[in-house]
Symmetry: C2
Subunit: 303 residues, 2 copies
C-alpha cells in the first residue's frame, strides 16, 4: 500500500501550501481521497496517471477538501476519458457538480456515478475481492466522513517444500490449497491445509480522518489500523479554538492513535498560522512515538 | 492603467500553465477579470492585495475561466473580509456559487452582490465618475461576454503660466476652471476656459475578448481601444478546429485588432498543444505589428 500526499494544509491554498488531497494505491486500486483546489495540478506534478483513478472519496464539502473536484472531472472529459468514475461524498455533491457541468454545457462523455453518503454510523461503501472501504463518521461543522481502506485477507501461500512430500499433489490442486481446502490422498488420508500452506500476509488498512473534533468514538472503527492519518489543525495550546472549530490538536490525534493501537500515525491539515510544522510532530510524539508529518509530495509505504 | 496576467492558457491547468485570469488596475480600481482554478494562488504569487479587489468580471462559465471563483470568495471570508464584493457574470453564476456556500455552510460575512448578465447586445454594466465597463458580446459555445474598460475623460489641466497673467484668478477658482468654466474678470471681460487650461490626457481603454470565434461584429465596440486582449487558442493551420470549437486563430485576432485600429494587441488563451508560444506572435505580427504575448506574471503598462 502506498500513500502520496498531494496536499496537507488547511483552509486557503497558497503558493507552497496545498489543501487536502491524497492518492492511495492499494491492491491495484488507485483511490483519490479529497480534492482541494489545485489537486489536478498536484496529480500532474507527482506523476499520477489520471486514467488510473476510478474512485474518488470526498470527506466533506468544505472548499479545502472539495473545490478541485469539478475541475478534475472536467479535465478528465477534455482528455477524452472513457473509463467510468465513481464519486463518494456527502449528499449535495451530485447537485453541485452537475449544476456546474450543466452551466458550462460540458457533460462528461464517460460514465460518472455519484454515491451520496448520509448515514451517521459507519457503513461499507465499496467492496470487491481485494479491498473494502468503510466510512468513519466524524464530528465537524458540517457532515463529514473519514474512510477506512482495508485489504481483504489474501489467499494462503503454498508451502512448496511441504507439498513436495506428496507426489499425488499436482499443480491443478494448488488453487484448492490456496483457498484453504485440505487434501485427500488416494489411500483416504487427509492432509490438513495448514500442513501444506502458510498464512497469507496480514491485511493492511489505512484510516483517513479529516476534519474532526477529538472523537474517541472512532476508535473501535479504526482499531489496529496499519496506518492512521488524523488531522492536527492546531497545537494543544489552541485546544479551545480546536473545540470551537471542531478540529483536533496534535496531542488529541496522538491520543486517538494510542487508543486505537494503530501501527503508525500520519498527521496533517496544519493551520496556516504555523510556519514550522515540526512542532506538530514533537507534540504528537510525546503521546505516540511512531508519528510522521504529512508533507506535500511525500510518499508513505504502508507495510 | 496596468494589467497583470495571472494566467493565459486554455482548458486544463498544469504546473506551469495557468488558466485565464487578469488583474487590471485602472483609475484606483482593482478589477479581476476571469478566475480559473488556482487564481487565488496566482494573486498571492504576484503580490496582489486581496482586499483591493471589489469587482470581479467573469466572461463565461467554462471551468478555465471560472472554477477558481468559489475558492476566492471563500478565502475572502476566511480572511475576515468586510468590504463588499461585486461579481459580474452570466446568469447561473449566483446559483452555483451560493449552492456551494450553502453546502459548506460558509456564508460570507461580507456583502456579496451578483450582477447576472443575459443581454445579447453590448451594455453598460459599471459606471462611476472615473470608469465605465461595457460588455462585448462574444460568440462561443456558451453565453460569453468580453469587457471594455474605459477611463472617463478627466478634468482639464490648469495652465498655470496663462492663469498667472490674471491676478484676479485665485486658487478657489481653480476647480471651476478644471471642470471647463470660463472666467469673468471684474471689468466684465470673459476669459475662455481653453485659454486658461489644457486638454486632459486622452482616456485609455482596455478591451478583453475571450473566448470567441472570429467576430468582426465586435469591431465597432472596441474601436480605437488603447489595448485589446484577444484570445488566440490556435494558429491558422487549425482554423477549422477554431471554427468548430468557437475559438480564434492568431491571424484572426490580429485582423480584429487591425479593423478596430487599436493601439496594442495582447494575445493569449493558447491551446496546450503548442509548447512554444512565440509562433502565435509571429503569425499575428504578419497582420498587426504591435502584438504582444500574454505570459503568466507579465505586467503591461497601458499608456
Amino acid at each position: 500500500m502506498k500513500l502520496t500526499i498531494l496536499g496537507c494544509h488547511s483552509a486557503t491554498p497558497r503558493v507552497n501550501s496545498h489543501p487536502t488531497a491524497q492518492y492511495l494505491e492499494i491492491k491495484n486500486h488507485h483511490f483519490l481521497i479529497d480534492c482541494g483546489e489545485g489537486t489536478q495540478v498536484q496529480l500532474r506534478k507527482y506523476g499520477v496517471k489520471f486514467s488510473k483513478i476510478k474512485y474518488i472519496f470526498i470527506s466533506h464539502l468544505h472548499g479545502d477538501h472539495f473545490f478541485g473536484l469539478v475541475g478534475l472531472i472536467s479535465t478528465f472529459r477534455l482528455l477524452n476519458r472513457e473509463t467510468e468514475l465513481h464519486i463518494y461524498g456527502p449528499k449535495g455533491i451530485k447537485e453541485v457538480i452537475t449544476l456546474q457541468l450543466k452551466l458550462s454545457n460540458s457533460w462528461t462523455h464517460y460514465p460518472l456515478y455519484f454515491h451520496e453518503l448520509t448515514a451517521t454510523g459507519s457503513e461499507l461503501i465499496f467492496e470487491d475481492d481485494k479491498v473494502e472501504v468503510h466510512t468513519i463518521p466524524l464530528e465537524h461543522r458540517i457532515y463529514t466522513n473519514g474512510f477506512l481502506f482495508k485489504e481483504k485477507l489474501g489467499e494462503r501461500k503454498l508451502n512448496i517444500s511441504a507439498i513436495k512430500n506428496y507426489k499425488e499433489i499436482e499443480i491443478c490442486d494448488y488453487q484448492n490449497l490456496k483457498i484453504g481446502r485440505d487434501f485427500k490422498l488416494e489411500n483416504g488420508t487427509i492432509i490438513k491445509n495448514k500442513d501444506l500452506t502458510l498464512d497469507p500476509p496480514a491485511p493492511k488498512s489505512y484510516a483517513f480522518c479529516s476534519d474532526t473534533s477529538y472523537l474517541p468514538a472512532i476508535v473501535p472503527i479504526i482499531k489496529e489500523a496499519t496506518c492512521l492519518y488524523h488531522e492536527t489543525t492546531f497545537l494543544k495550546d489552541k485546544v479551545a479554538l480546536a473545540t470551537t472549530t471542531k478540529h483536533s490538536t496534535a496531542e488529541q490525534a496522538a491520543k486517538i492513535a494510542l487508543q486505537a493501537n494503530v501501527q503508525q500515525l500520519i498527521i496533517g491539515h496544519y493551520s496556516g498560522r504555523y510556519k514550522n510544522i515540526e512542532v506538530f510532530k514533537t507534540e504528537a510524539q510525546e503521546i505516540f512515538k511512531n508519528t510522521h508529518l504529512a508533507e506535500t509530495g511525500k510518499v508513505f509505504e504502508i507495510n
